[in-house]
């Protein structure tokens, strides 16, 4: 491929201006501000166009737009280029950079033949696709910037790095080595080794381990809780059974007490009936009778009290002493009554104090018996009748033992409930722990997946780098061998290219190998340009030839080196188009003297006119 012409209509400061180009070496001369960079950009834009897609433009595209949009064209921005392909076709590419709609590639000789669809790339026709490149890689393969050449004297690795970059991404982006470094750094930082305590892989594994332990603890606690809950249920059932046992004995005992009380009341009534005549009544004061001595007045009360105490003792399981006491009391009452009747017969209707006391005591006995019976009935209601009926005799000892057992069971129950409540209060959530473990596993899975991804990317990239370098090395060597003796005036005749690192070494005859990056500046620049030519040849599709666009690449050369480099470029121009932009008078002078149409050409850009960006293209 070679450019025949480029037309700016409008582009940057130019409006409807054209630059025509020869098939060999083209020197485009212009002083500063004459528009060399603009024509350089127009060449690129005319061939490759700009990406036309949804979304915002990339930063690089924005910079391009800001720099090369026409200054005063009312929004129009377009460029066209005519290129000749190796297959004989001449194609005119029209790139409407403002709307990106009116972009097309048509045959320059055969009207109506359209090639747009053949080279569409990211929404717009891209002529570099005929070279097997695209608007990204074309820049790296075909364009050599001044800065790239200026680096060579200062940086011995620059040549090798540039080759690596070209080999990796056609010069558009990073070298494969840098990309591998980035991948390795990312892997080190975002995955890390299993031994690095602060790196994600180790910490996420620890988190999984911790979460698993937490879950196991939660599950154990849950199991213990359920076990304790079941245990409490058993304690509760046991306590209830013990309480029932005690309740039955309590009811039975109460029944016995009620029966005893009823018997006591009945017996007291019987004794009272037997002694119906009762003790002598007290003398009425002021009746005119002889006063009763104090001991006689107190005697019936003492006797009655003794009788009552005796009955009480008898009823309270002190039968013998009670009966003796009651008997003595009754005997004394009988004696007292006989002796008193003889002395003072009582008034017929006045009850004595002793009789009232007797009746009160009997009423108390009956009331106590009723109360105990009601209490027994109440207790009996709370227990199974069959269980109550089965109880024969309840001793106080037996009842106390049952009460003790019930109390013990109740205490055990309370303790178990307290413990359970404590466990429940501290019970971790199994579901929470499961969720945490799953989250930890997912995070570990993500990190392990990232590790695999990065490891795979590194493996494939290393393999690709090795293979491409291996393929590149002989191509570079062949190109260098073709040109090296000629451009170095026979100083260097042999070269080798390390397939691993693309390091270039040269030598004379069988002399020692010398690293190209460490040679004199002029020689290094020559070798660099030859290598770029080799790369451009290698990177393009078979059957095509890539033009080289050079931006002031000889600016830093001394006169002698400049001469050699220019001669080299002219020699290269014999097989592929070379477009050299320069602002140097000595280069123009050389071109005027050495370049011959129609193979080569000098294009001189006029000096910029005040207040006008337009520049006349000359041939």
């Amino acid at each position: 491929m070679r450019f025949e012409s480029v037309r700016a209509h409008p582009f940057g400061p130019f409006h409807d201006e054209t630059i025509s180009l020869a098939p060999g070496l083209n020197v485009v001369f212009g002083p500063n501000e004459a528009g060399k960079s603009t024509w350089h950009a127009a060449l690129y834009a005319g061939l490759c166009g700009m990406r036309r897609g949804k979304g915002a433009a990339s930063a690089e595209a924005r910079r391009f737009r800001d720099r090369h949009r026409p200054w005063d064209a009312g929004g129009a921005w377009a460029v066209s280029a005519v290129v000749a392909l190796e297959d004989g076709r001449r194609v005119e590419l029209h790139q409407n950079l403002a709307s990106k709609v009116d972009c097309n590639a048509s045959d320059a000789d055969l009207a109506g033949r359209d090639y747009t669809n053949e080279i569409l790339y990211e929404g717009a026709p891209d002529g570099s696709r005929w070279l097997g490149l695209n608007r990204g890689s074309f820049l790296g393969a075909a364009c050599v910037r001044q800065a790239q050449v200026l680096r060579l004297p200062d940086d011995a690795d620059a040549l090798q790095e540039d080759l690596q970059r070209a080999a990796a991404t056609a010069g558009a982006d990073q070298t494969a080595a840098r990309a591998l470094d980035l991948l390795a750094d990312y892997r080190r930082e975002h995955v890390g080794s299993a031994q690095a305590p602060t790196k994600p892989l180790r910490t996420s594994r620890e988190r999984v381990s911790t979460s698993r332990s937490v879950l196991e603890r939660a599950q154990r606690a849950q199991a213990e809780y359920l076990e304790r809950r079941l245990e409490l249920e058993q304690f509760e059932r046991q306590a209830e059974a013990r309480e029932q046992d005690a309740a039955v004995l309590r009811a039975a005992s109460a029944g016995q007490d009620a029966s005893h009380a009823e018997a006591r009341a009945a017996r007291a009534a019987e004794l009272s009936a037997r002694l119906r005549d009762g003790p002598p009544r007290a003398t009425v004061a002021g009746s005119g009778r002889r006063p009763t001595p104090p001991y006689r007045a107190a005697a019936p009360y003492l006797a009655a009290a003794g009788t009552a105490a005796g009955i009480a003792l008898a009823l309270a399981d002190f039968l013998v002493p009670g009966l003796v006491a009651a008997g003595l009391g009754l005997a004394f009452l009988a004696w007292w009554r006989l002796t008193t009747r003889r002395a003072e017969p009582p008034a017929p209707d006045a009850p004595t104090g002793t009789a009232a006391e007797e009746q009160r005591l009997l009423a108390d006995f009956r009331a106590e018996a009723v109360r105990l019976r009601e209490e027994a009935a109440s207790l009996a209601e709370q227990v199974a009748p069959a269980a109550l009926a089965a109880v024969r005799e309840v001793s106080p000892e037996r009842l106390a033992a049952a009460e003790r057992r019930a109390r013990t069971a109740r205490d055990a129950c309370h303790r178990a409930r307290g413990q359970l409540e404590q466990i429940a209060a501290d019970l971790p959530s199994v579901a929470d722990a499961e969720d945490d473990l799953t989250a930890a596993r997912q995070e570990l899975g993500r990190i392990e997946r990232l590790d695999r991804t990065l490891a795979t990317a590194i493996e494939f990239l290393e393999r690709a780098e090795e293979r491409v370098h291996r393929d590149f090395a002989p191509v570079l060597r062949a190109t260098l061998l073709e040109w090296l003796p000629r451009v170095t005036g026979g100083r260097y005749t042999d070269c080798k290219v390390d397939p691993e690192s693309l390091q270039v070494d040269v030598r004379t005859g069988y002399g020692p190998w010398r690293r190209a990056g460490l040679l004199s500046h002029g020689t290094a620049e020559q070798i660099y340009l030859l290598l770029r030519l080799a790369l451009a040849r290698h990177l393009v599709a078979p059957g095509e030839v890539c033009p080289l666009i050079l931006d002031d690449v000889v600016a830093a050369c001394d006169v002698e080196r400049k001469q050699v480099v220019l001669e080299t470029l002219q020699a290269v121009g014999a097989t592929s188009q070379v477009i050299l932009f320069t602002h140097e008078e000595d280069v123009r002078a050389w071109a005027r003297k050495r370049l011959e149409a129609p193979r080569d050409a000098l294009s001189e850009l006029p000096r910029p006119r005040r207040n006008q960006g337009g520049i006349r293209a000359v041939q």
Partner: protein, 372 residues
């Protein structure tokens, strides 16, 4: 005029369930568990609103292995407050009845009846209606409750249990196990007018049985009108059913096409529009072609969605890296060789996408090497 009994039937609430499936952990998962309780609150409210005679639960009310004392108290209180409405609980395979089960250890209020036997047992509901219920007493291997069973006595007979109707098993998804499996004909053969069931999470109304479906989301991709069923059982055994949604936080399936997004901001804006103020849990499926310059990370999207949703799951399997791989593959460069090699390698599709993105980003000098 036949006698009527109105019941509210639900099943498969799975209280205390884990929510890792939804990408939820910590506070998000707890919120989801709370929403399950809220759903039960809505079911109880529904029973009150329709003045139901009874509330039926067809099992898997909670998860035995995860249940907390707090859940026991919550259930007791919720059901006690429903009195005098009766509550009938038929334990399932996730909340099987056993001596250490919440069913056995909870001091239920008098209006709650728990079926405790692995065979159908009767309860008279009045109006000539008899309810036969059964319990799973183990997490697996429960046999067909209806096999060899014949409803005895006059009136209408219905059943409540947790069981798998065999012909519906396939449509419930491969993970579903046939617990207490039965054939639809078994119900009629057993003399039952209807069976109120649990186990299948996808709702199903058949002539003789009803699966209400899980009332609150338990997985993404759940379809069908699920919730609680208000059923009116007439004296002749006929039934009318009405489904009511009771979920507090539905699960959403969102799809986001990132084609044409030029920046992460574009993706975020598009995602927020797609989310449209929804709440609950969400599964986001990324698709389309992601421009190579867009630094899009799963964590960023997750954080954005968690501002609105309780839980988020992101799938990016259908996402395409916006590289022109065919074009790059034609390059005689390391990059071209790398793309060709990766595409030719027998890697899973999503792994291929991630490896290509990492390698191409590194070659472009980028430092965001982890792709979606």
């Amino acid at each position: 005029m036949p006698a009527r009994v109105t019941i509210v039937h639900f099943a498969d609430l799975h209280l205390d369930s884990g929510f890792a499936w939804a990408g939820a952990g910590g506070a998000s998962a707890r919120r989801r568990r709370q929403s399950l309780r809220d759903a039960l609150g809505h079911i109880a409210g529904l029973a009150r609103d329709v003045d139901a005679d009874a509330l039926f639960c067809g099992g898997d009310l909670y998860e035995h292995d995860r249940v907390t004392p707090d859940t026991a108290r919550f259930l007791r209180g919720t059901f006690a407050e429903l009195a005098p409405c009766s509550v009938y609980l038929a334990p399932g395979n996730h909340d099987w009845y056993g001596p250490d089960s919440l069913y056995a250890l909870t001091d239920w209020s008098r209006n709650v009846h728990v079926f405790r036997e692995p065979r159908l047992q009767p309860v008279r509901l009045g109006n000539g209606l008899t309810l036969w219920g059964a319990a799973h007493c183990a997490p697996a291997s429960t046999r067909n409750f209806f096999e060899g069973f014949a409803a005895q006595g006059p009136g209408t007979h219905v059943a409540l249990c947790h069981a798998a109707e065999r012909s519906s098993l396939a449509e419930q998804g491969g993970a579903k196990q046939p617990h207490a499996p039965f054939d639809a004909d078994d119900i009629e053969r057993a003399g039952l007018a209807h069976a109120f069931l649990g186990h299948y999470h996808r709702p199903r109304d058949a002539a003789r049985y009803t699966y209400p479906g899980n009332p609150d989301p338990l997985a993404f991709g759940e379809d069908g009108e699920r919730g609680a069923v208000v059923a009116t059982i007439l004296g002749d055994g006929s039934i009318t059913r009405e489904r009511r949604a009771v979920a507090t936080a539905p699960a959403h399936d969102l799809s986001l096409d990132v084609t044409g997004c030029a920046s992460q901001q574009d993706v975020r804006d598009r995602l927020l529009r797609a989310a449209g103020g929804r709440r609950g849990v969400v599964r986001l499926t990324m698709q389309g072609e992601l421009h190579p310059d867009v630094d899009l990370r799963e964590d960023d999207l997750r954080r954005l969605l968690l501002e609105s949703f309780d839980a988020v799951q992101i799938r990016s399997g259908a996402l395409q890296a916006g590289y022109d791989l065919e074009e790059i593959g034609r390059e005689q460069t390391v990059r071209g060789q790398f793309v060709r090699d990766v595409l030719e390698a027998d890697l899973p599709e999503d792994e291929t996408r991630r490896v290509l993105a990492a390698g191409l980003r590194a070659l472009a000098g980028r430092t965001d090497l982890e792709a979606l």
